[in-house]
Symmetry: C2
Subunit: 464 residues, 2 copies
Amino acid sequence: MPAFAVVTSDIIAQLQSIAGVEQVSIAQADLALRARDQSHHAAHPGDVVVWPQTGQQVADILRLANACRIPVTPWGMGTSLEGNPIPLYGGILLSLERMTRIVAVHADDFQVTVEPGIGHKDLNAALARHGLFFGPDPGANASIGGMLANNAAGIRTVKYGASKDNVLQMRVALADGRLIRVGSRSVKQSAGYDLLHLFVGSEGTLGVITEATLKLYPIVEHMGAALAAFDSVADAVQAVVAIRGSGLDPAALEFMDAAHATMLREAEGVNLSDHATLFMEFHTPNAQALETGLSLVGSICEELGAVSFRATTDPAERRRLWHARHASYEISVRKYPDQQFYLGDVAVPISAYPALVQYIEQVRTDYGVPLYLIGHAGDGNIHVELPYATDEEYARCVKINGLIVRQAQDLGGTATGEHGVGIGKARHMRDEHGEALDVMYDIKRLLDPNGILNPGKIFPGHDE
Amino acid sequence: MPAFAVVTSDIIAQLQSIAGVEQVSIAQADLALRARDQSHHAAHPGDVVVWPQTGQQVADILRLANACRIPVTPWGMGTSLEGNPIPLYGGILLSLERMTRIVAVHADDFQVTVEPGIGHKDLNAALARHGLFFGPDPGANASIGGMLANNAAGIRTVKYGASKDNVLQMRVALADGRLIRVGSRSVKQSAGYDLLHLFVGSEGTLGVITEATLKLYPIVEHMGAALAAFDSVADAVQAVVAIRGSGLDPAALEFMDAAHATMLREAEGVNLSDHATLFMEFHTPNAQALETGLSLVGSICEELGAVSFRATTDPAERRRLWHARHASYEISVRKYPDQQFYLGDVAVPISAYPALVQYIEQVRTDYGVPLYLIGHAGDGNIHVELPYATDEEYARCVKINGLIVRQAQDLGGTATGEHGVGIGKARHMRDEHGEALDVMYDIKRLLDPNGILNPGKIFPGHDE
């Protein structure tokens, strides 16, 4: 890790000169509010918060920080789940909270150009009048910049893709103060290296996204939902494969293990049985396609041994069917009021899903701990949720999660499907990437030779 | 451009030692067959052809070439359209023609792992028994490695995406002889930098793809086609926007200008009128959805002033409707027997398509040359086809294409939607990328410091 300089009053004056006096704060409350995200990782404050208002200001701040060797950690909404925006080495907390403009709606192109600080829910509310929406939905009102920087995904990725699939062009500020444009508003691009996707998912370690042009979809008029329960995970996953193979193109295909269903069904408004459960959603251009599709899904689930199947096209009933899934985290938190949750995020090829779930269930048995499974089965992504209270329990969570990560990697999968590497997954990157990790690190040094950009993420200990 | 060494008999002996005596040739016929692709660019032979049979052999060849400063140009099927695999500086022609194995079919994952030399048509023939297919279809039987290296696309990209959207994991040999794995078989990936997409579209200038795991789709059972003619390009494009906005998700949405329709309709089996024409294809999971969809498309086209509309779900009739589109290049070539065709490949946001077409039509009028327009309207991609015979006519093609590229860039688009930069588009990269081109070049130097990988492509003259 390079040696960093401290934030002096002279630096603060220069930041004020770049962004304006009102856009710089060293108030304890401002720093503390941006010292941790929604993950289990410990808080660490920055030394100064800056709220730039233009891409040029972001670039100028980076140029200053680079010249003075001050760490810079970008911040969006703080909703990430792997410590990604925690300013581990202090320095400048670069908050994009005041860059929330919709720069242009290109309705005929199904595109919108935005500043990075806007929340995706806020964006979708504004886009509704155009009959369009941004597909990826990680749940919380994450900022678009944060979603792109972490390649966030969510429950609708099986149909609409992850963040990386829904961006065409960005402006990115580099450590040396250059402000470049990557990608194009053309949906087809074959003109040189794909720098766009190099910055997407780089978690603020290669540059800071100052503007993004996103792909949009026409708002769906016909939505249906279904819920199916199975005796075994293997049966449930066979249904997932068959539903995808039928060409039905589900908009969500979520899995919950029997233990989680059992835990949730005691909560109000939840109607689940003690079985591995699939939650499904379908979006179609017309009502008839929806009816036909739901009927076909019912046949598939029945044929694959579903012990129950319910489907609906009624919006209120759809919300009731999905309530247990949408409220699962809140219900879990209420169930364990004095504990925090350690969250995993592995993903595997769908064919390995039963083996992965079986392994995790075995680990649960071996360690005798509460452990819940919920995940985006359509994408092979699963989150383990482990309640903990003490340091000892936390250490055990780390150990259990390490075992699960290793198993996922051995099954051809990844340590992180959508939360990013952040702080917690860095230790797994060598196993995951082998020599490719050295190429990543070479690119990091190329674009950020002084290591000022979000230090402590993705590569800590690389040189050890 | 770095100074290269010549291919000596010692080098040839070392190549034979790596790949086997049978896999190395300096025969004139072997060199001449791989001296040019299907573009208008002039032929240039390599000094030796090598057909490696494993990824490790590819890596060993690169290590040798790097140590000895010998240029290496990867070769797949030679179907590219911008001179991408022409060995401009001689040296080693690295042919992947003997690496055509299907390594593994992961049917439940809708994935296949292949060696780079297999043709995508050959791959799809082999996958049919599994009920699966690889989506991108550039027309010719391009190799998978070549498609990935150029990010090839084609007529079905509007539904199935370009090559970059259909690859999950690759093995890549680097200039220094390392053989790395990039990406993962997990469809969700958020673990560090996206090296996968850095190599996709890099045209063999950063490394050589030795294996790829591709995404597949279930074979479509219900296909329909439609053909609509419009008085103006603007009307046709409005229909394109409306059809995409309806959520109908066409599998192909092709445009042909009135001049091209007129030229083609004299050929046998073609039934076109002298109008801007849209060719459409729809893939649905059931017959009812197809009927409903085609009827909706008919209403949309009628409402937007189509002068004619034909639709069908019958396979034979579908082929008849599409014959003019599929055979357009062959018909054009027969129409100009003693000439070659200069091919353009610009792409713009769809809203700019009418302005782009209008500009191109004006250029055609100004220069008084035959110029035909055909393109993937659903993606905003258009190809100009310019017949030429003499050097003077060729120079005029270059000039006209340069004007069109500049206009596309000014409209927020790109010099190349799917053919890649190759030889012909390098001169437009500075205008297209600005300072981002320097970042690309820095990455090139990082991964290929001696400039041995496919020299003369993407960056020629960068240092001038």
